[in-house]
Assembly symmetry: C2
Homo-oligomer: 377 residues x 2
Amino acid sequence: MQLTDLETPALILDRNILDRNLARMREHITQLRTSLRPHVKTAKSIDVVRRSLERQPGGITVSTLKEAEYFFSNGITDILYAVGIAPNKLEHAAALRRKGAALVLLLDSVEAAEIVARKGVELGVRFPALIEIDSDGHRSGIRPGDRSLIEIGRSLHEHVGTALAGVMTHAGDSYNCSSIEALRDMAERERAAVVQCASELQEAGLPCPIVSVGSTPTATYAQRMDGITEVRAGVYMFFDLFMAGLGVCQIEDIALSVLTSVIGHQPDRNWIITDAGWMALSRDRGTAKQRIDQGYGVVCDLAGRPIDDLIVAETNQEHGIIADRHGRAVDLARFPVGTLLRILPNHACATAAQHSHYNVIAHEPVVEAVWPRFNGW
Amino acid sequence: MQLTDLETPALILDRNILDRNLARMREHITQLRTSLRPHVKTAKSIDVVRRSLERQPGGITVSTLKEAEYFFSNGITDILYAVGIAPNKLEHAAALRRKGAALVLLLDSVEAAEIVARKGVELGVRFPALIEIDSDGHRSGIRPGDRSLIEIGRSLHEHVGTALAGVMTHAGDSYNCSSIEALRDMAERERAAVVQCASELQEAGLPCPIVSVGSTPTATYAQRMDGITEVRAGVYMFFDLFMAGLGVCQIEDIALSVLTSVIGHQPDRNWIITDAGWMALSRDRGTAKQRIDQGYGVVCDLAGRPIDDLIVAETNQEHGIIADRHGRAVDLARFPVGTLLRILPNHACATAAQHSHYNVIAHEPVVEAVWPRFNGW
């Protein structure tokens, strides 16, 4: 099958670029003498994740129990569920553990530790859990130096329904860094935060087998990983315009695109109308706050090469409006009705989530495989 | 099953509110002596759409051929595909017509009309098509008065592979109106645009059986529908914060919400952390440009009542950050870990699309049914 045989919109994954991205991160993490626990939330595909696990210990990070369920049913047992656990998910988590999944939970309060411990006793399972550390003020976790660390650690360690598995942090604020230097600093801050917490737990006589960090920007720019047992990252597999804007990749490293058809024109406004709206591209406008606002995506030809200064300037549910980024005239005759274009996304996680499968290309324009993905909870 | 038995995040649909919204629009359109062709792109659920078709002719509007396929397989034959047709979808469209679907296409150029006509001949089918009229400069279509109207009409009428089915417009710019008066004017402008084009076609001796208008805001505020054969609307079924901000509904009319659990707190920042991030709520921030910015959604209790000034201020993929909209202190002790909350969405179409089914409630908190929905193309 050729790209020209697909009905649009359709999600395209370039396997050559994917493999290059996977190899680059793997080599970097190996050089830093730690290991990779890929985050599967971006790809949600066993075909992609298997490739990401090559020459790695085999553990993954998930953002939903549905991901845990799916990857476990595909033979992956070492699973970190890296979102603070909600009480109504504990029966599901227990069922997974009973089936043999080495599922590890996350929490950041004595309150949550006690809820999990009680439920563990009730269900007859022991839930291993990491303590979430807030290394950058971005979202969840306790700050390094917070005295509740030992209290939570002790609670997890001493209750029969729980076990203390270690500490983890996610430097989500790295997405707001404005230079490579700042990314390097953020990576070091992320590392130092959990290493400090791990030491404090050990000094208090508590175990801390896992010391986990991760975000694609910090994983890419980290210069040392002393004391770190694993690095989590997900979006590095596909990359996107946001990561390119942050300096974490080049436009050429973006493996994901949305194939679309020209369906009309508005000559007065220099608009090309397509059938890839926000439903196909996602509503993510991450680059809006970056130095270069890429609209809803960069417009490429069928071979994946960006065309002049064309971006998807506006979207409706199933319509995209392509225009010159500076509002200049567009030679509409170059893009007759039926022309196929490929749109590079702002945010790979969000765009991929709008689709049910990847049309895989390597030596374009042949679709060499269709890899299923899933969504939901 | 109770709401408290669900794993979060989960999509909740209040059937009482849905039915009230459906009845209100149906009565309004009936009073205007025209009929409703519900747009199924918001609900993508046969259970919802069947209710919307009560006492209406039975035709629907779709935004994808997958919608056409699904609703046709559920017994609905009269289907308008209201997005300009892309050439690579014509074989699929022909297959649907051969199976018995009265599928009508849309286009806005002689170029597209000729592509469709050629493919019709090649496939041995006749494709009926509407001409899209641009009543507001919002997106696709030709302007009223554009001389290509007759040319496109003649092309559709005279080719064996096509038939001229009429004209349609969508006043998408009604989403930018700032007063009820402006919405009324927009509705009249929408009506006048297609009625004028229908007359021009008829004066040129061409048929124009369908004269179609629609958008939820204009359908709600239209005061006359003379010359209009059908009105299309979709989001009125569920409504959302954007529509409330536009004055098209009240907060109490929003039938859709996302159930979420509190998973933690950041006392220093007055944040409540939940498990409904942008994956569950969508990335849609439609209210950001309105008078009242509702963040990623308004926070309600389990009964659906808004709580003080709490909104979802920020999201990550699977995390929501709830804060006071004015940045004031929040009594976090009221929201212990495990507390269930319901989030009203910015945009019903976008939020529903993140989920695979509706948990239907009527006399809360009992889940009386699970209605499946679908996504993709």
